[in-house]
Amino acid sequence: MADLYVGKTEEFGDRDRKIIAQGTLEIGVFHVDGEFYAYENNCVHQGGPACQGKIINRVEEVIHETEKTAHGLKFSETDVHIVCPWHGYEYNVRDGRHPGNKNIRLRPFKVEIKDGEVYVVV
């Protein structure tokens, strides 16, 4: 087990990220709503650079509670996605999972903050 130094916390704006590499292992470290998350930059689909994609809120469909009628789309107020730029697989930034299949998941890494510095445990 080793700690990979990523940078200082102050270097990360909101919804910011860094892509770090050690050998062929690439890891995306994300800072979203004050929390840090890290995943291997390797999409489950075809091995694309998932962590280098768009960060965008999950799209939800507005359904009337009792009538079940549809009233358009909206962006989620809580769920934030990372989208793989190769073909569009989306992953929740908080757990790395695809919204339609929990087994489709980016490989997560633990992030540690020590004295204002960000480390990834590999």
């Binding site: 080793a2 050690q22 280098q52 569009g88």
Partner: protein, 406 residues
């Protein structure tokens, strides 16, 4: 002193956008190619795309009709806010990049230096080369993009006018300059006379390895007026490809509200109809020496249609009297490009490979730079294929089918 803290490198590309270099977008494809030694094997990509609208100003200069050419040039020079002259792209084109989530589909606005253009001869060659080298592709068959809708153009002659202009531009500016790029030439199929002229004009052109019908059209492929077109191709030993596409304004598709749903069906439906007519009217018996390639509908439809047609034919053989064997037996003698390969139900994929005789009939295709492109690893990593099948599908089947020395 060992601090237990390992030094890491930072990748400067935090986010891939429309301005990212194709080599950076495809860095992981390059890595996959290196890990699998793709540089040591022959890879032919039988369907990739050129964004012809980016070179439209040059292409319209090749239009024969002086009045149409003048209109096109006037529009390019002086009018803004409209799509390129003459093109009738489907409204669905605006949804392909999933609202900006797949940038390489939206645009490739990456930097290209003048010196690079000078070296290879054209900006479009620089872009193609960056991508095919990243994927370790040795030969790439290239098709246009919005021109795939020209079969639905309300002006009957526009398909032939623009098709010929594009073919001429492509020969002069791409095919003569880059021996790795080939094409199945655009065939203006709505007008059989123009189609025949096109075969005569371009059949021997450098880089022309066959001819391509855009499948989005309402034309019956078994109509008598196409027989001379098929005969001309058969005589020249040039394969005929049906390149699929979608058409959201098709009455049935107009019930669908989401691009993805429409795309999933419409990209297959056009080829389902043409294949059905092709088989049930006995065209394989009439042109036994004409290889036919079905392009960009994926593969799942083929096993489904084989079952549907065999079941029907056995009950109603009097409606297909030219057939001497089952529809599926003709279908497994035809050729298919693999992309977009459906692999989410791997047992079904394996069965489909078996049913279409993939070992000899399947051709790798990337469809780069479109949103559902496949790298060569998609074939290489299939768990059920032996090595010979992988090599065949990635390149050897195409080498047997096409004359890449042209």
């Amino acid at each position: 002193m060992d601090t237990g803290i390992e030094q890491v490198k930072e990748n400067p590309i935090k986010e891939i956008t429309t301005y990212t270099d194709s080599r950076d977008i495809l860095a992981k494809a390059r890595q996959q190619a290196d890990e699998r030694n793709f540089d040591d094997i022959f890879i032919a990509d039988i369907d990739s795309h050129h964004t012809e609208t980016e070179s439209w100003r040059e292409i319209i200069a090749y239009i024969d009709d002086p009045v149409v050419r003048a209109q096109a040039e006037e529009m390019v020079l002086h009018r803004s806010g409209t799509p390129p002259y003459g093109l009738n792209g489907d409204l669905a084109l605006r949804y392909q990049d999933v609202g900006g989530r797949i940038p390489h589909q939206a645009a490739r606005s990456e930097k290209v230096d003048e010196s690079e253009i000078k070296k290879v001869g054209h900006r479009d060659i620089v872009l193609a080369k960056r991508a095919y080298e990243a994927m370790s592709i040795d030969i790439q068959v290239v098709f246009p993009t919005p021109m795939l809708f020209l079969g639905m153009h309300p002006q009957f002659d526009m398909e032939a006018i623009l098709g010929k202009a594009y073919n001429r531009w492509q020969v002069e500016n791409i095919l003569k300059k880059d021996p790795k790029q080939k094409t199945m030439m655009f065939l203006p199929f709505n007008d059989p006379e123009s189609a025949l002229e096109t075969i005569e004009e371009f059949g021997d052109a450098p880089g022309c390895v066959g001819f391509m019908v855009t499948s989005v059209r309402y034309k019956a492929v078994h109509h008598n007026h196409y027989m001379k077109v098929y005969r001309a191709l058969e005589e020249r030993g040039l394969p005929l490809g049906f390149h699929a596409g979608y058409y959201w304004q098709d009455p049935f598709m107009m019930q669908i509200n989401r691009f993805g749903s429409m795309h999933a069906l419409s990209f297959v439906w056009c080829n389902v109809v043409h294949m059905t007519n092709w088989i049930m009217n006995g065209l394989p018996e009439r042109f036994p020496g004409l290889p036919v390639v079905w392009i960009e509908s994926g593969l799942a439809w083929v096993s489904w249609l084989m079952q549907r047609l065999d079941h029907t034919y056995l009950m109603r053989s009097s409606e297909a009297p030219l057939l001497k064997k089952l529809p599926s037996e003709y279908m497994k003698e035809m050729f298919y490009t693999c992309q977009p390969l459906e692999t989410d139900h791997i047992k079904a994929t394996e069965l489909t490979f078996e049913m279409i005789n993939a070992k000899t009939q399947l051709l790798y295709a990337s469809d780069w730079p479109h949103f559902d492109f496949d790298t060569p690893s998609v074939i290489w990593d299939l768990p059920f294929l032996d090595e010979e099948s992988k090599l065949n599908i990635l390149g050897r089947n195409a080498q047997r089918l096409f004359d890449f020395s042209k």
